[in-house]
Symmetry: C2
């Protein structure tokens, strides 16, 4: 009777999906290789790898619907699952989001601007691509990159020559001098209903998202509309169901370029837990279950004042420091702290305020008080 939602992956995104879904009467099951994963606090864990058929069979048994918290699910797993239960977002989107060439080709086909790019499978092709796109440029693996891993900025011909191995499965992208990084989080329901959050302003350091501010400051309604058009084209072309995140560059001339997309809830949307009428996690679940998305008549989810999110990347011995900051909400993932010198997402702090000025003061206070954790 109670809908049972299956999630491939048991990390923090699975944990936060379940914490958002339990109050709507849902139950959760995760397929995950580590039994003590973050999601274990909020549902049943089937311990197994994505290619373990016995585990997959137990996972699929009795599910109302399935989704994932992670886009690098093997295609064979997604296909098998799709034959046994409804899986959202659809399998075809996974294939696109797993491959930077397919992703950027989709943007191009949809007439969405994107940095110029070239597929590269050898050192000769790399040198030709550097020639064609100009230096600096960015070399990335086509697949499986995350948090800046699998990326190299090439500033000179010498940087390219110094690379030890250049083989198949790479992409070179034009290095674009953006004004800032933005993201848009959108959703499309099984019923076709769509909903959008306001644009988010993101700051990365070392390839890792450090801060998000939402609504992004100084966004004209026309910029928001252009971002929503980008998202809508992807949603509709792919027959998308669920939450979709698209990372964008705002260029000095005011144009938007699409950088990449994530077919799932996204780190830059965590502020919605405390700064919006409903969170991206609740929105994703409503979308995959065909429930109303809760947007206003213009398709937007209403936000509350101004919000920010700070990722916690280092050990946190005592939550009381974070809890004493005004307007702050702590979201820990139940992970062991990273070892010294390592940075790993073990939680985040959401900060809410009545307006942008108050937010800036609260952000400054948090950055100072928690400097050793960020």
């Amino acid at each position: 009777m109670t809908p049972l939602v299956g999630i491939l992956g048991g990390g923090q995104l699975g944990r936060m999906l379940a914490l958002a879904g339990i109050p709507m009467g849902l139950r959760f099951r995760f397929l995950e290789s580590r039994p003590d994963c973050p999601a274990a606090a909020a549902g049943e864990v089937i311990v197994g790898r994505y290619d373990d058929h016995a585990a997959l069979t137990r996972f699929a048994d009795g599910l109302s619907t399935a989704t994932y918290e992670f886009e690098n699910v093997p295609a064979a797993t997604a296909r098998w699952l799709t034959e046994h239960v409804s899986v959202y977002p659809p399998e075809g989107v996974l294939a696109i989001a797993q491959d930077r060439i397919a992703e950027k080709s989709l943007f191009r086909d949809l007439d969405v601007g994107t940095p110029a790019f070239c597929a590269v499978d050898s050192r000769e092709q790399l040198l030709a691509a550097c020639e064609r796109l100009g230096l600096p440029c960015v070399l990335k693996t086509r697949r499986l990159g995350y948090d800046g891993k699998g990326q190299w900025v090439l500033r000179s011909r010498a940087d390219a020559d110094a690379l030890p191995r250049v083989g198949a499965g790479l992409i070179v992208e034009q290095f674009v001098g953006f004004r800032r990084e933005l993201s848009i989080i959108a959703a499309r329901s099984r019923t076709g209903e769509e909903a959008f959050f306001p644009l988010i302003q993101n700051t990365h350091r070392g390839g890792i998202l450090r801060e998000s501010i939402a609504p992004a400051p100084e966004v004209a309604p026309e910029l928001q509309s252009r971002a929503e058009i980008v998202a809508r084209r992807v949603l509709e072309r792919t027959g998308y169901v669920g939450v979709l995140a698209i990372e964008l560059f705002e260029m000095p001339d005011g144009s938007l370029l699409a950088n990449e997309m994530a077919p799932r809830v996204h780190n830059s949307g965590h502020w919605t837990q405390d700064g919006a009428d409903l969170s991206q996690f609740e929105l994703h679940l409503r979308a995959i279950l065909g429930w109303p998305l809760g947007a206003d008549s213009s398709g937007r989810i209403r936000t509350r004042g101004a919000s920010a999110m700070l990722n916690i990347l280092r050990g946190d011995p005592d939550p009381s420091r974070a809890l004493s900051l005004a307007g702050s909400r702590l979201h820990l993932y139940g992970k062991a702290p990273p070892s010294a010198g390592e940075l790993r997402k073990i939680g985040h702090l959401n900060i809410t305020a009545n307006d942008a000025g108050e937010l800036e003061r609260r952000l400054c206070a948090a950055r100072t008080a928690l400097a050793d954790l960020l």
Copy 2:
């Protein structure tokens, strides 16, 4: 390493405490006789009754601290537990809250107004009490009453004569013609820090809470202060730790009378999940762990706009009806729906709005759309 919090009882209050605590990095264990209880979605359930010593021993093993979601825990259980782990609120408060005479005597000792009352242990004493307090008056059991159960309004001598059995363990209270019912929710931490939510306006029908509105409309700062003084006296006299709720009557002359108290999170505080900087559930956990309470410099938890809570008391086949209401958040407890004609708390709907006018419109829409569930 991760603090493990034990909760006596596994109902909806335990469930919501855990859902609020998991993001702060806490884990939960419940002692509850039904394995499929509402709290099972968010922690480990030790199946057993409160007087089952083997179960109690397993429950207490390794806890960081213990609390309860229900005040009618047997005194012997609370005492045994207190010898093994820190238990908050303290055992002495339980004894007071379990007995309407002790509770009203505490209010009287603290110079807090309360309806006049008399202990009654026989039919003779009942008739004398009716004489002394005047009719109508309210006869209640001293212990174990809830949701209007164990209460009888006596409007005439004939009503008293018609009662089939009158024995020991009763209380008669003056029937007071209040203007409205209010409640105050307050907290005191292990460190002595205190925090208060704004006064809440409550509507009961058939002895069951139906609606809460917060902040209560038309509350002068002076009324809020008087309510906080009442709560502060109880917190400090009893050495309280945790969240405390006090139900109050606002009288036609503007005075406040204390009706009863609950030494725990309270149904009239459920709106705080969506209408305040932090919820009563998070506040209770912060208080019992000695963490900062998150109040502003005047000791108040900041609220967001205007909020209301509607209890869902009848079967709810499809959550999408409730989810389509603007500004609404659904909180279901994972309980089987009540049988036809029965009313039982199976969930609640929180409604948030920018101001009181918008809240009233949204409340009207919700009351109409969900009339068959309320």
